[in-house]
């Protein structure tokens, strides 16, 4: 590789790295806290939602979400995975989750 091409590659690589880091961080800044890949450590407090499984007889059984997760992360979108796992169990008709935005009920298929 010629010195000129090497210089151009270094310039391109350095600019791309900084642009990517800045871009991800700016996008994260405009998103809900905390966004991943955006250095938003300790930027807010996020509580785990309370989740319950609805059985065929209509009864609700609370689920200990902390026991079902390897490490609760505020950045993680864990509800779809949790709902799928709970619905996989016997006698589950639906999953009811209480979130800050309200209560959601997801039927198991």
């Amino acid at each position: 590789m010629s010195p000129k091409a090497r210089r151009a590659l270094r310039l391109l690589g350095t600019s791309a790295f900084v642009a990517l880091q800045l871009g991800l961080s700016v996008v994260g800044l405009l998103s809900e806290r905390p966004a991943p890949f955006a250095w938003q450590m300790y930027s807010t407090v996020v509580e785990l939602p309370s989740v319950a499984v609805e059985h065929a007889d209509g009864s609700l059984e609370p689920i200990d979400l902390a026991a079902r997760l390897a490490r609760p992360r505020a950045e993680a979108d864990y509800l779809p995975g949790v709902i799928a796992a709970i619905c996989h169990g016997p006698d589950a008709v639906a999953v009811v989750a209480t979130l800050p935005a309200g209560i959601t009920r997801q039927e198991c298929r």
Binding site: W39, Q40, A76
Partner: protein, 391 residues
């Protein structure tokens, strides 16, 4: 654009990068131990998996002991500078694969670690202070782009950590209050957790982070930024939870500060009293700890040396002299300047310039200088270490 190109191409010593590599490799090994329980949990069939996409290969499905074992082995090799390109590349791939495996494995620390190892590997940080350098020799200089990238990375982390905290929840003090230590000798008493104090701490932490992002780039502010960084990381590790993660985070950020130190090879000259045994032994230690090779050492008994640097005989006899690109300093100020160039002390050395530490330090230096013992060369020609009393 021209300034950016110059910074990218500027030849730089490989030693600061090597010191960062040693530290980051050690931190990578520690991080493995921190992540090990999460990996073990992910091996539990009762635990929910949260992949980003189904097609992503899941390293987290491998036995946790195997993943952690490989991780630690690669981190140790990387830190020691053994097969650095290979161990660094594999470590970067492993960390990237872990991050991509499951959302629960994401942490800003792991993400930062992957970036730091990747940039250090690509930037040939194994070419000095390493087993590789011992086997193949070290280049005198390497291109400056990895230094620039790592500096930028540190600044981006601080800047966005600060900016993302500018929100109602954080500014209300709730986050600080909920993460403050509640148990143990270092717990903050309940009476001190008033909302006003928590709000004040929230604002101070934001200002500190944004101040660091800017201050590290400004030579005049840099020494203060070093001290602020140590204080910030020390304080959050002591008073916030979880302690282990915050210690690892501090250990990841602070070693990168070495890349902000203006310590080009042989950029400073230390002129010391070579007739003094105490001074000689002090200089011997300084030489050993000058891992950046930023200093050259010249004996004060050499008139040619004194003439070259414009130092009078009286000045050389009175106090140690440090000559650098910012001029000459002597005595206690020179010692502070020397400590600011040593990798083990550069972060805290600026404290030596703050009153009243500086005035106490100057007095202590003057006292030691008066009482130091000198070697006398006897007429017979044989050198002997003999005390001749205070001078």
């Amino acid at each position: 654009m021209r300034a950016l190109l110059a910074a990218i191409e500027r030849p730089t010593s490989p030693r600061p990068l090597a010191i960062a590599r040693i530290a980051i490799g050690a931190v990578a090994a520690l991080q493995a131990l921190e992540v090990a329980p999460v990996l073990a949990r992910l091996n539990d069939p009762a635990v929910v998996r949260l992949p980003y996409a189904d097609w992503v290969p899941r390293v987290s499905d491998l036995p946790a002991a195997v993943v952690v074992g490989v991780w630690v082995a690669l981190a140790v090799l990387f830190s020691a500078g053994a097969f650095t390109s290979f161990s660094g590349l594999l470590l970067t791939v492993l960390l990237g694969a872990l991050l991509a495996s499951d959302q629960q494995l994401y942490s800003n620390h792991l993400y930062l670690l992957a970036i730091l190892v990747g940039v250090l590997t690509a930037g040939r940080a194994g070419t000095a202070l390493s087993i590789d350098a011992h086997r193949h020799g070290a280049p005198a200089m390497v291109p400056g782009w990895p230094v620039l990238l790592l500096r930028a990375q540190v600044s981006i982390v601080y800047a966005f950590a600060g900016l993302s905290k500018v929100n109602a929840v954080y500014l209300s003090g709730t986050v600080v209050a909920s993460t403050l230590r509640r148990d143990g000798a270092l717990a903050i008493p309940e009476a001190w957790r008033a909302q006003e104090w928590m709000m004040a701490l929230a604002v101070i932490s934001i200002l500190a982070e944004i101040g660091l992002a800017i201050g590290l780039w400004i030579p005049r502010w840099r020494p203060s930024a070093f001290v602020l960084g140590v204080a910030l990381h020390g304080a959050i590790a002591i008073w916030l939870l979880p302690t282990d993660q915050l210690i690892v985070f501090g250990m990841m950020m602070l070693p990168i500060y070495i890349l902000f130190v203006d310590a080009r090879p042989a950029s400073h000259v230390v002129v010391w009293d070579d007739a003094c045994t105490f001074c000689t032994s002090t200089i011997r230690w300084v030489r050993r700890l000058d891992w950046l090779h930023a200093m050259t050492f010249a004996p004060g008994s050499d008139d040619a040396v004194l003439r070259r640097y414009g130092i009078s005989r009286h000045e050389a006899d009175e106090a140690i002299q440090l000559v650098g690109h910012r001029g000459r300093s002597s005595g206690y100020a020179a010692m502070a300047g020397i400590f600011e160039l040593l990798p083990l002390t550069f972060l805290v050395a600026p404290i030596m310039r703050i009153p009243p530490i500086s005035s106490v330090g100057r007095r202590v230096y003057a006292r030691v200088a008066r009482q130091r013992r000198c070697r006398v060369v006897w007429p017979a020609g044989a050198a002997a270490s003999t005390p001749d009393g205070p001078r």
